[in-house]
Symmetry: C2
Subunit: 193 residues, 2 copies
Amino acid sequence: MTTNEGLRERKRRETLQRITDAGIRLFIEKGYEATTLDEIAAAAGIARRTFFYYFKSKDEILLSLQSGMGAMLVEALKRAPGDKRPLRAIRDAVVAVCARVPADDMIVIDRLMRSSEAVQARKQASYVQQEQALFAALRERWPDPGRETGLRLVAMLAIGTIRLSLDAFNREGGSRPVAVLLHEAFDALEAEV
Amino acid sequence: MTTNEGLRERKRRETLQRITDAGIRLFIEKGYEATTLDEIAAAAGIARRTFFYYFKSKDEILLSLQSGMGAMLVEALKRAPGDKRPLRAIRDAVVAVCARVPADDMIVIDRLMRSSEAVQARKQASYVQQEQALFAALRERWPDPGRETGLRLVAMLAIGTIRLSLDAFNREGGSRPVAVLLHEAFDALEAEV
DNA sequence: AATAATATTGCACTCAGTGTAATGTTCAAG
DNA sequence: CTTGAACATTACACTGAGTGCAATATTATT
């Protein structure tokens, strides 16, 4: 099925992977800021200039590892039955999605991101982007125009709750599974409002 | 009362103001990215190197205009009566705070921030910082240890709702006052959860 | 007036990121 | 199997943000 992949695509995928691997390895070894693009390029076996053919910036190496989740969430939402309330549908979808993400990687990436203010900032920005994507998906499923504000809030709530759960997960060093923390947070949400 | 301000402090305040003014003027004139620190320094009548004595980076010029609100919110919360539910107390506090911020400035700053991805990202990060400050304030006022998760959520909800309201305000070009949008959003919040 | 503390500056440097243009590689069509 | 188009890789030169350091100037203190 995925075998009809040309030489070009394969090489591209491999190079992308080599850059990412080299980057993360170096970031862990000597810190994010202290690692230069020259070093990453050298370790990945490409020219410095080529790096920018694959990534827009240094922080994209880390960001690219995070951006997948939003898309998965939107996908899971589309397949959910339409009779649930939005927040319930999201809750179920996100628990399902998080089950398929390796926990150890999450912790490493999170620690790396915390080491640079600029990266940390872009991470928060990417949450906002995910929020907007989620809002767009919600609007398609519950297209009542008078509910726009409400759906924006739901998207904000959902992404915010996810963010807090992942933060708690990392704060605890991964001692409790993400799914548990998610349920805890979503339950607390209904109690607080 | 504020007259016992030495020469040093006065000069510092004035220089800070000159840098901010020069920066914003130039950003509006020729765009954020296209404005160099050399130009800002020249316009503010200081050396390039001195700029970094006042600001850690170029984007701090814009960020510094935003960071005041979180502190004001925390202050207002401290003076609020303790018998309200947290979310209600915050709602009242933020409406009071926003009344004292000039609307035109908000719109200009917002447009400037949108013109640079890095600034936009740092803006979102500053919301998260405000969220954490708010959480700390809430925990002092409602120090029940079993409610940590709940208070984190309240802080997230509150800052998120504020953010969405300000976004809506800017999206509408300032046609409706912020207070109205805030009340609308907080009302919708209770309806959606 | 002397001294300490803080501000201002110049200089040289590192590094991220961009524009451009040249060269190499893969692909598709004949 | 060749040829041309599309894509990939690279070198080179450049801009601009941000830092370290050390010298000088200004303000505060006693």
